[in-house]
Amino acid sequence: MAEKKKDNLLELIKRLVETPGPSGQEHQIRAAVREEIEGYADEIRTDALGNLIVRVGSKKAGGMRVMVSAHIDEIGLMVTHIDEKGFARFLSIGGVSPLTCLGNRVLFMDGTRGVIGMESIEPGTMPTLDKMYIDTGATSAKDCPVQVGDVCGFERPFLDMGKRLVAKSMDDRIAAAIAIEAMKLVKKTSPNEIYFVFSVQEEVGIRGATTAAYGVNPEVGIAVDVTGVGDTPKGFKLNVELGNGPAIKVRDSSFIADPRVVQWMVNEAKAQKLPYQMEVLTFGGTDGRAIQMTREGVPAGCLSIGSRYIHTPSEMVDRADVENSIKLLAGLLNNKIELGEL
């Protein structure tokens, strides 16, 4: 059998999406990202909340201090009670739907595994998380390997479908992968001082980016995150579709992207002749809001990657969208930034 050519992008994505890291437990994924970027950074620090802040370049004439933010946390579960028989009750960390829980397997931060079961419920009713439990294989409370406060994430291997890529935490590890790849493409000639922030605790309320943005004090900011798509049967009424290119966010329910940043992104996509699509999201929020609202206010936008099945263990993105997003982001960072009039 012929040896398959090593696909560096897929290797990176696989590593990032398979590393567990629910909000507040980002140490493993932070270490993984750090290893990936070490050779490309001019300065690396971890702030008080655990954001990994990576500086590339320093400000030259006409350059700007830019913050790029991709969150490295993912949704997960936390144990709230171990019952007499050893079943672990839980609540969600971030937005976890009960529909995606039943029968799923979870991985605790110490490597313990469990499966999710449910009390019997009235036929035809929606399950709720408080009717569910994690079965760790324990036979009683005494031999249960987990305790109240322990954290787990969903466990699913990365799946390469060719054009489409599927994983449990494309939200937002695909953005971390895009940021890392764009970082590798930043040229010495860039006039900008770029802070790549791999932020924590986005899924519980955009908390990490709030303190990171204060610390970085950027002049312009871009969040990179996944966004909902409108291309599935009887799905959301949304403009974005898988494979139509990077999505340039105009608004979501947490913020209105700065129109100057939107235009700057559109101009760059056109200049590179990259496909792109405009994103108008009727829900959701990203690190972009935190950047925009920090200190005295910052022009901020968001580069989005269309994703199906967000917040399920099988989030799907399009590979070409990912590759084009890397090119778009690198182009934005490499050139002198011209923000027009408001």
Partner: protein, 363 residues
């Protein structure tokens, strides 16, 4: 874990006559969010002469600095909110009758028939409702919304109170055997503990004590207090609900939040904060080393001042510790004296063994 530091003298909190008198003053006071003057005065009188610096900021937080000795001292902010949930008069309808609204989270089912005190002079009144003689069976099935309730101060009420005045339940502290019974245990227990911590501050840290305002309406005081102190570590001390009652169907109670007699409740996660794991471990290790009973507060919605503190400036590693209490945000709650003393003991012991190594990340 860092080795235990020698405290200059053993700190053994007790609940004697003097301590109960202070706790009574605190729980009986009227300090509904936005008008915390009464508690502020008690705090400042108590701490006169104990602090290196004491000031009141623009929102009304009392910010107390107690400097330690030695090098490389961590700046540790400990916050306890002074405000309580309660009421605000909104309209004088004449004859001593006032329309009012709730301030902070209060279940309207808790209101009817309660005695209240109004304004800085503690004018007595009651929240009345139609007598049972006059109600229909249908009416008795309905919860009376606050818009249909009035505070009745009796004749001449207009001369004693005015719209904008705050009101609270008229409950006074009682000791029922091992139990404290009072209104506003959330969070006068925290205020009491923070006063004791300042008076007995360990010398290895700079203790930045924030007696905060407006927690019950959205963690507002703590936000500006944390900005001002700019600490290395944040600890919110509070009182949290215990729902440790038998399940109605005789099944296992899985939603108790905390248990009375279980000791101080250490937070892992609530609706506003994911506690810093290094700080959670530090508290648990201290409790184990000092043989102090402790419990995790069940991860669940809700929030403490830590929710504001940890997001300030470039971020502050934060955690919360609460005294468990039944029937919070009502006319009368219950907490155990032992839980209160063990919480104070744990906080003091933990602070006394704190050094800068706690902030190292192992990865």
């Amino acid at each position: 874990m860092a080795k235990k530091m020698e405290a200059p003298k053993m700190f053994k909190p007790k609940m004697g006559k003097k301590e109960l008198e202070l706790l009574g003053k605190l729980t009986n006071a009227l300090a509904v969010s936005g008008d915390e003057q009464e508690i502020r005065q008690i705090v400042m009188d108590e701490l006169e002469g104990f602090a290196d610096e004491m000031r009141v900021d623009h929102l009304g937080n009392v910010l107390v600095t107690k400097l330690g000795k030695g090098k490389k001292r961590l700046r540790v902010m400990v916050a306890a909110h002074m405000d309580e949930v309660g009421f605000m008069l909104i309209k004088d309808e004449g004859k001593g009758i006032f329309e009012f609204r709730t301030v902070g989270g209060i279940d309207p089912r808790q209101l009817v028939g309660k005695q209240v005190i109004v304004g800085r002079d503690h004018v007595p009144g009651i929240i009345g409702a139609k007598a049972i003689h006059l109600t229909t069976p249908q009416e008795r099935k309905q919860v009376l919304p606050v818009t249909q309730l009035r505070i009745d101060l009796g004749p001449g009420g207009s001369t004693k109170a005015k719209p904008g005045d705050r009101a609270t339940f008229a409950t006074e502290l009682q000791v029922l055997g091992p139990t404290l019974c009072a209104k506003a245990l959330d969070n006068r227990l925290g205020v009491y503990n923070l006063i004791q911590l300042v008076k007995n501050a360990p010398e290895n840290i700079d203790l930045l004590a924030a007696f905060t305002v407006q927690e019950e309406v959205g963690l507002r005081g703590a936000k500006v207090a944390a900005f001002s102190f700019n600490p290395d570590i944040g600890i919110a001390i509070d009182s949290t609900p215990a729902f440790d009652l038998p399940d109605y169907h005789g099944e296992e109670n899985t939603q108790y939040r905390t248990h009375l007699d279980g000791g101080p409740a250490i937070y892992v996660m609530d609706g506003a904060t994911i506690a810093d794991r290094r700080l959670v471990d530090w508290l648990v290790d201290t409790a184990k080393a000092e043989n102090i009973p402790w419990q995790f507060r069940q991860p669940a919605p809700g929030g403490t001042d830590a929710g504001a503190i940890h997001r300030v400036r470039e971020g502050v590693p934060s955690v919360s510790v609460s005294v468990p209490g039944r029937y919070a945000h009502s006319a009368a709650g219950m907490a155990r004296i032992d839980d209160e003393l063990n919480t104070l003991k744990l906080l003091h012991a933990a602070l006394a063994r704190l050094d800068e190594k706690i902030l190292l990340r192992q990865e």
